[in-house]
């Protein structure tokens, strides 16, 4: 009896769901309308979303166009090879470029030494534990600290405590600490991508741990490390705030010759010229021309980094 009623019930339900019974529950017209609306919304939003990307690209293009068009007529050999001057027509950025290069001469070896050293310790030597996670956490926190704060650190420690003032050395050391997290993280990744069988093969041949690291692991990871190094250098070369906080003097007409000299670098000069456009309108053109130089420099550095990554990186 019970069984029978169950079967009847099922038949009844089946009838409802198929054929004529369906109309009573789903109004096809309404469904069609809704479906149309949903599809239309999908299409409209897709367009709208792709437009946001167009907007971002447009802004990038506008920025480049604006800078380049303002620098036209100002960016010439004379501008690149003469000294700074108060007069806008005579001013050139030879000393500024040398300042930036000297800065890189300090930053590159210091970050490479500290960054790769830290990464090698973390990946090859340290044991998993409190110390390793402390350093890891510390590095990720350090990368979130605003660059002005690094400026205050540099001002207090390098500028005042070590009596380096606002020299290239003080600026370079400050920037080195600022970009340290970038090179540490990328070097760690590069070291991690070196397969273990290379290390084991080296040990099997009787090599010690350091020999293995120095002759096998580091050369294999070199492309990745160099990519990270160039990226961190390009971050350092565009950095303004920490150097301004260090108290780089406003107008330095003398070209710096060694790392103990006072200096200005490309971004700092852009900053001062932009601020002084209120006084002399042509300074805006000088700032734009300097920006073009800086952007070209960054473009070259990043291209080199990409080429190194694509060409020399071996995959295992």
């Amino acid at each position: 009896m019970n069984n029978n009623s169950y079967i009847l019930d099922q038949q009844f339900k089946n009838q409802q769901c198929s054929g004529k019974g369906m109309k009573a529950y789903i109004d096809m017209e309404v469904a069609h309308k809704r479906m149309k609306r949903r599809i239309l919304l999908d299409k409209v939003m897709r367009r709208l979303f792709s437009f946001t990307i167009v907007f971002a690209l447009l802004v990038l293009g506008l920025l480049l166009y604006q800078v380049v068009s303002q620098s036209l007529g100002w960016l010439d050999i004379q501008f690149l090879t003469s000294r700074l001057s108060i007069s806008a027509e005579k001013a050139g950025i030879k000393g500024v470029i040398i300042g930036s290069i000297l800065l890189m001469v300090v930053v590159a070896p210091v970050t490479l030494f500290l960054g790769v050293g830290t990464a090698v310790y973390m990946e090859e030597y340290s044991k998993k534990g409190a110390l390793q996670s402390l350093i890891n956490m510390n590095i990720s926190n350090l990368s979130g600290v605003p660059s002005v704060i690094f400026g205050l650190l540099g001002l207090t420690v390098f500028g005042r405590l070590f009596q380096l003032g606002s020299s290239v050395l003080a600026g370079g050391l400050t920037l080195s600490l600022l970009v340290l997290p970038i090179i540490v993280v990328s070097s760690q990744e590069a070291l991690r991508s070196v397969p273990n069988f290379l290390r084991e093969a080296s040990y099997a041949l009787g090599a010690t741990k350091w020999t293995t690291v120095w002759k096998i692991v580091l050369p294999t990871a070199l492309p990745g490390i160099m990519t990270g190094a160039i990226l961190s250098l390009s971050r350092a070369i565009g950095e303004t705030a920490p150097l301004v906080v260090l108290g780089i003097p406003t107008l330095i007409l003398r070209t710096p010759s060694n790392i103990m000299d006072d200096f200005t670098s490309l971004p700092i000069q852009i900053y001062y010229w932009t601020l002084d456009t209120v006084l002399t309108k042509e300074y805006a053109n000088l700032a734009a021309a300097t920006i073009v130089v800086l952007l070209v420099l960054l473009f070259i550095m990043n291209s080199v980094a990409i080429v190194i990554r694509n060409k020399f990186q071996t995959r295992y």
Binding site: R38, I39, L41, D42, R46, L48, F49, S50, T52, I53, A56, L57, V59, L60, L63, V67, L114, G117, T118, V120, Y121, Y125, S126, I135, N138, S140, L142, G144, V145, P146, V148, I149, L152, L153, T156, V157, L177, L180, T208, K209, W210, S234, G238, T240, A241, V244, V245, G247, T250, P267, I270, Y271, T274, L275, T277, A287, I291, L294, L298, N302
Partner: protein, 304 residues
Amino acid sequence: MINLAKGMKKKNENLKLFEKIIPTILLIIASISVLTSIGIVLTLIVDAVHFFKEIPFREIFSTELAPLKAENASFGFLPLIAGTFITSAIAMFVAIPIGLTAAIYLSEFSTVTRRKIIKPIIEVLAGIPTIVYGFFAYSFVTPLLMKLIPSLEAKNALSPGIVMGIMIIPIVTSLSEDAMNAVPSSIREGALALGATKLEVAFKVIVPAAISGIITSFVLAISRAIGETMIVTIASGSAKNFTLDVTKPMQTMTAYIVEFTSGDAGSGTTGYYSLYAVGLILFIFTLLMNLLAKYITKKYRKEY
């Protein structure tokens, strides 16, 4: 023969010694990053303590900031904090809608090849030095906005806020897109098979599934905006107004630090120490943001 063996033994011993000191040397190098953090906290705290010895803690909540006045200099940091939050809020108002929709487009609608081309170009925006954005804000965006809003002053909070927003679009886009990409295709396909449109899949399935990554990207972007210096220094001026009016000049915490160090505050004055107090507040804000981001990823991340 014996001599040779002796020589080798000596060389071996040298190597062994070298081998032993290497880890210590590397540990010292690695500890420099920790020392940097300790150095930052110490410099900020030590000099901020000097500041609070001379200025009562209550005063920093006043709305009047006049650090260079010869007599009765006042140190209320509220104008700076307000300036920081208003410019950052404008930036997020620009960056969140554009960054998030761009991320949704890249992850859900675009083809793989298109994504491979577009994503690096958007990331170029993040690689441009901030000083360049500052120049752009001051010499292009402000004059443009002045045509739309005649009452806008040459230095204002609106223009640097917008440009800062453009600068942090890549942070939002890149991190959110990574989070959405990490949602497994099976979930996406399941929803599509049930008859959902791509838009519905994006908003009802993918975004909720990737929400921790998306929120993290917002928080990191805010932290970046709070710490951003050169754009606001150039384009929003140094007037210490306590106002909500974005057409007026304002000063942020970062711009205050820059103005003061490149200006005339001699070492040892209260004005000089006030830098470190402001720096400490700034540091705490960004640190909290970064810790919050980490907490969100850790707590709410779903592993598929």
